[in-house]
Assembly symmetry: D2
Homo-oligomer: 275 residues x 4
Amino acid sequence: MNLPLVGLKDERSTIRIGDTTIGAREVVLMAGPCAVESGEQMRAAAQGVKAAGGKILRGGVYKPRTSPYSFQGLGEEGIDYLREAAAEYGLLTVTEVMDERSLDVLVDKVDILQVGSRNMQNFHLLKLLGEVRNPVILKRGLAATVEEWLAAAEYILAGGNAQVILCERGIRTFEPSTRNTLDLSAVSLVKVLSHLPVIVDPSHAAGRVDIIPALAKAAVAVGADGLLIEVHPHPEEAQSDGMQSLTPEQFARLAAELRPIAQSVGRSMAHSPKA
Amino acid sequence: MNLPLVGLKDERSTIRIGDTTIGAREVVLMAGPCAVESGEQMRAAAQGVKAAGGKILRGGVYKPRTSPYSFQGLGEEGIDYLREAAAEYGLLTVTEVMDERSLDVLVDKVDILQVGSRNMQNFHLLKLLGEVRNPVILKRGLAATVEEWLAAAEYILAGGNAQVILCERGIRTFEPSTRNTLDLSAVSLVKVLSHLPVIVDPSHAAGRVDIIPALAKAAVAVGADGLLIEVHPHPEEAQSDGMQSLTPEQFARLAAELRPIAQSVGRSMAHSPKA
Amino acid sequence: MNLPLVGLKDERSTIRIGDTTIGAREVVLMAGPCAVESGEQMRAAAQGVKAAGGKILRGGVYKPRTSPYSFQGLGEEGIDYLREAAAEYGLLTVTEVMDERSLDVLVDKVDILQVGSRNMQNFHLLKLLGEVRNPVILKRGLAATVEEWLAAAEYILAGGNAQVILCERGIRTFEPSTRNTLDLSAVSLVKVLSHLPVIVDPSHAAGRVDIIPALAKAAVAVGADGLLIEVHPHPEEAQSDGMQSLTPEQFARLAAELRPIAQSVGRSMAHSPKA
Amino acid sequence: MNLPLVGLKDERSTIRIGDTTIGAREVVLMAGPCAVESGEQMRAAAQGVKAAGGKILRGGVYKPRTSPYSFQGLGEEGIDYLREAAAEYGLLTVTEVMDERSLDVLVDKVDILQVGSRNMQNFHLLKLLGEVRNPVILKRGLAATVEEWLAAAEYILAGGNAQVILCERGIRTFEPSTRNTLDLSAVSLVKVLSHLPVIVDPSHAAGRVDIIPALAKAAVAVGADGLLIEVHPHPEEAQSDGMQSLTPEQFARLAAELRPIAQSVGRSMAHSPKA
């Protein structure tokens, strides 16, 4: 494989969006439900994200689903719910882009575009994202090597968009007791091999609420620049991924527990606005 | 996961293209180079494929490459080389489609469209392929379960295109001595779980010429409806995958060795036209 | 890693036991239940193995079990059932050896000693097996590379016992629909890299009866020197592995179907004694 | 599988050895070279371990090696070097036991016995360890599920030895840039599923020095009760695993960096004796 060229530089990249900078001293919290379901749901989620010191509201409107008969997301209607809730609480937005059509819709409406694991080597989509100015979260493919992941990022960088945020979300292994196996070595490795910021999604990795807090702590300790966490006001009613969604209360508690760890590794985390 | 609905029916599906039927008694040979490089190369390959009893000429013109700096294929120029060589030797054509743009170009120019491993869950592309009338070879993703593979096929079937041919091409495991691990259990399983034809690509699985013939034999014995094999007139000069390409002579010898195995499992294979 | 030294030689090794030779032209069938349960069971199994042209009767008396609370095998009582049934039908015997104690018991009572997957790198046991004169079937560890497997064989060879038979039985991957993923590339590779005979156990690989016959055919086509297959007179009553055990009738039918495949690849298979 | 019975109880187990308790509030550091090579080497290692606040000196004297032609350890001579160095610096000792013979030698000479990954399902050895009174570190097999790992522990517990310490050391995946993939989810899971203490070996997992400190921090953050780290006075001269060994200076720096993380998760770590 050719070595990443644009991807090589001496200083670390930081990505500034509004008042928030990813890849600098602060560990940034991004959270929200797997799928946008209603305006009410998104407002409750946004309130919880904000209250915990989170900066970015997530919520899927176009959902990549294994089966064509599963819920495919609310589409454009969902974008409004995401944007309105984020605006009300002063949060930035991130959602998944799946193809050219959804990119056209999303590019001017959300702050950060996310490429899901299944699309990590959708080179057509990567090239299109090289031409936009939104920051891009590039999730690692579920069987992608670190080298392939960095090469995928290079497609976006080579297209002219330098704002790539890598996201480790678990790889596929033989172990059945978690949905995926979170690979924190990879987080540390991309810090060595690349200048790009890297965040961790412990929710998709674990697939079960009980170990998400511990994995989030480990992610901060290993050096992640941010966390992407599923938070749903009513996980038991979620249309997808309910069993891996924290409640706003659990998320607030976790955020409080993460702060001293961030400080222990020379980082900071935003405080709750009330604090 | 929802169960595949369109994918469930009682009799096995067969796919007829010109004089060739995939999924019936005959085991169909598809071969050619990884990448179309020149008219001369494709004519030599086509001659070799035809001489061995092959029915379908393969050759990539749009190449999905891990790195943006690797050779990306000849594009439209390559399509002509593929078509002309196939026409000269009375072969059908198959090439990989990567996105909407390449689909628009290829849909009227090649017989069979191939979805590569990296795109197995590119749902936008799968939906587009549900709307065309070309048969589609759907390669298994390199870490896709059999269930996910069948669900991906269901996206095409649900869109209205019933002509889906599954292709096992090796999965990603810990074993470093082959490029991928050919999973022939999966071939047998999709025969149990689905009515769709399934072929095997031993070339990408092995990544090394020395064991491709043995794997091809095993694929026929396990019940594959066809083989997709890399054949290059000059493997040592190939722009990609040279070390896993058979010469036309090696391919002819292999085809001759496969015939009695096909007969042993109640199948047939076309004879060389000279024979 | 150091390269295997004793393991390198020019001609292929053959292993002669009584009238049977492993690694020569004949593909040898070895079959029987996972666990020896009773004299009656073993006689019925032996009759079925013999009737299908099998040469070697298998049956576990010391069972390596994931949990200490699972059935651990009949021990010495089982050895008698295995030997008596084999003697009555003129078959050789193979059973698993787990440690020094079981080796002491088995060494003079069974023909072939088997090392299970979990013990592939139990170097103490391998060294002990280097000092005996029984042929040894060395199963591949469930996450062992081909190189590690050959190096494990080298422990036995270096100890002075040249009669090592490799056995591929499936590796651990992400795929949940089979118990393990049968890696037939590995069978082909050890033929390239080593002079040792290699057999295939499709029963443990598949873990389900419906695809075992197809995998057995593929194993013969890829070049295996023998097959190790679970056969139980009453699979529904088996104390372990019932769902992957063929009945004697299914085994006889499979044996008949394997013969023409063996011939197609230049091998032979023994006929049923009545035929 | 049968559920672990002895392994289920309400309160967490703690294991007391001399002044050190594993599984209580303190995160315990265990360190030393992969292989014992000389008295001088072990004294230098012990000095470094002690100076950093470590409590337990590790060093292999019987080495399980993939190839029979690799260095197999110093054997009994090495035990003396390990014991003398530990005694001089007031450290406990841990070394790997491979079989009955090495167990007989080690049982009265070292404090803690370690079962390596390759032997996690060496049931004979596990049963023998159920009969001794030394605490046992049970490393997870490189392709063992969490359930299998706990069931292996159950063999020791069921035999009457309640002092089992689990050790996660990386699992085998497709990723080639680390030796193994450290699975910190598993650490969190065994805290949920079991009462046993669990430690982490980031050195074998990573196989490269540059990311070991980050992984060690993540391990403490995720809740590990201790760390097992390779430290060698002269890594460049080590007979095995040099590229994954920290120097005593690197180890001391790491220990200092781990303390605030331990405190952040409600744990403590011993200070350097000079501090």
